[in-house]
Symmetry: C2
Subunit: 287 residues, 2 copies
């Protein structure tokens, strides 16, 4: 295979997002190459695309694969758990980068992302966010689907944004669940799905149910976050879990969060009777 | 039974705290009367003390029982889940108070506590905090038990205090787990025990283990919190759950948090190899 010029490299962690990015970029007529991370990306998911495998510590191998594939731009998508550095499979380049990456990791997710980007940018690959790589994934403004937030739900959205941005400023997490003014759950290391399971297990007196939906999931990027990385994302599973938790809807930042499979997400939301709403931050001023 | 003058009334929710308060007050030579909340306090726990039962909505009955027992001071201790108002058993006085209490409940835990206090203070009973009712429960400053925080653990304590106070200002929760600079979990409606179970279920790469303890549980009161109510508390179960989650220790506010069963807590901490540390807020300035 001759490497296509201006190929988009996609470093793929786990989850559906990397594939959604690859599909959207191909849909835009662009050639893609997926660098699948061992133990994270699923073989059956990456097989439809030109791809290669590397461990998180094989930075030399990753760079070589991406360059051979003609990648001039690069994006990272999907979940990458914090590595256990002592157990990491390293190549020479990875070993060289390790001290800096470990030091960055101690300063939080965001510093880790920046350190990884710096390495690839030093190899003349421009690092772009999944949003730039695949604009059709970006959440629009307003309601996606049939349902819209009520005035009460809007108040929960506002409080949720306040909580999430406050936590985000401390590099804690990107999501919270607010129900009639009360914060039911806040996301840290466990992730959004686990947080929604937790809400579903709270006593019914505190939360909504399928018959009487209450409460909102709010996801928003950390205020100082490197916007090219780790944008808040929702997919059909998020919608299903939010419905199981009895929530009335999901609010994400319009133009700032990603929706994987927008049509399927909208259809699921309509079927389950919940709203998906892309808010404009300027419409929700913080106190 | 003739009512003793200056009896301490203890409105008892669930958990060990109300009984610890009753024991400590008796230990100080004071007579006590436990008003056990139906569905929350356990009959076998309250039976050693003079006591009576009322539902959360039977405010008239509660006032009568407390007055008949000669209570001039009153404290509330233990967990009281947010009531499902439509299912509450009400007496006339409870029905009268309901609109105000419901409105307060919408503004958060703290407003709810203040509304309840106002009702009892209107009946000439002075409401005091469990800390004032039973000073021996208050956490001391410094290490309780054998182990002390290391310099690294001290940095986690500092970050944990920052996170908990920030969240507390939004009336979210009182606890967080920080491990080597990273926030692993934040408490909202689920409570501290459930949060520790969650940390125990995170991948081992992210957290400590019994062999290699890492991370700190920090509990602190909300900054604007009504200090007479709902103080952060730990007991032997907290110590055991923290140990299961692989943590290196627990930090609470000296003079501002409660320890139920201090000797047993210290013994468990020593046996499990974790520290319990009462911090002075002024030694941990927020950025």
């Amino acid at each position: 295979m001759v490497a296509a010029p201006n190929t988009l490299g996609i470093i793929a962690g786990s989850g559906r997002l990397p594939l959604a990015v690859a599909e959207a970029a191909q849909h835009d007529g662009r050639s893609v190459f997926v660098l699948a991370l061992e133990g994270m990306a699923a073989p059956e998911d990456v097989s439809p695309f030109p791809h290669g495998w590397a461990s998180l510590g094989e930075i030399g191998k990753a760079i070589k694969l991406l360059k051979n594939a003609g990648c001039s731009e690069l994006t990272m998508a999907g979940k990458v758990p914090r590595p256990e550095f002592t157990k990491l499979k390293l190549d020479a380049r990875g070993a060289l980068a390790l001290p800096r990456v470990m030091a960055a990791e101690m300063r939080g997710d965001d510093a880790l992302h920046r350190a990884m980007m710096t390495i690839f940018e030093g190899e003349a690959m421009r690092v772009i966010g999944p949003a730039e790589a695949a604009r059709e994934l970006l959440a629009p403004y307003g309601a996606i689907g049939w349902f819209e937030p009520s005035e009460d739900q809007d108040a929960d959205i506002l409080h949720g944004i306040r909580v999430v941005l406050t936590l985000g400023a401390l590099d804690v997490g990107q999501a919270a669940v607010v129900c009639q003014g009360l914060v039911l759950a806040v996301e840290a290391a466990e992730g959004t799905d686990a947080m929604l399971v937790r809400v579903a297990s709270l006593p019914e007196a505190m939360r909504g149910t399928a018959e009487d939906r209450k409460g909102v999931l709010v996801k928003a990027a950390k205020p100082h976050q490197e916007r090219r990385m780790d944008l808040p994302a929702i997919g059909i599973r998020t919608v299903e879990m939010a419905a199981l938790a009895g929530l009335s809807g999901i609010a994400i930042e319009g133009g700032g969060a990603l929706i994987v499979g927008r049509n399927a997400v909208a259809a699921a939301a309509d079927r389950l009777g919940i709203f998906i709403y892309g808010f404009a931050p300027e419409d929700y001023p913080r106190e």
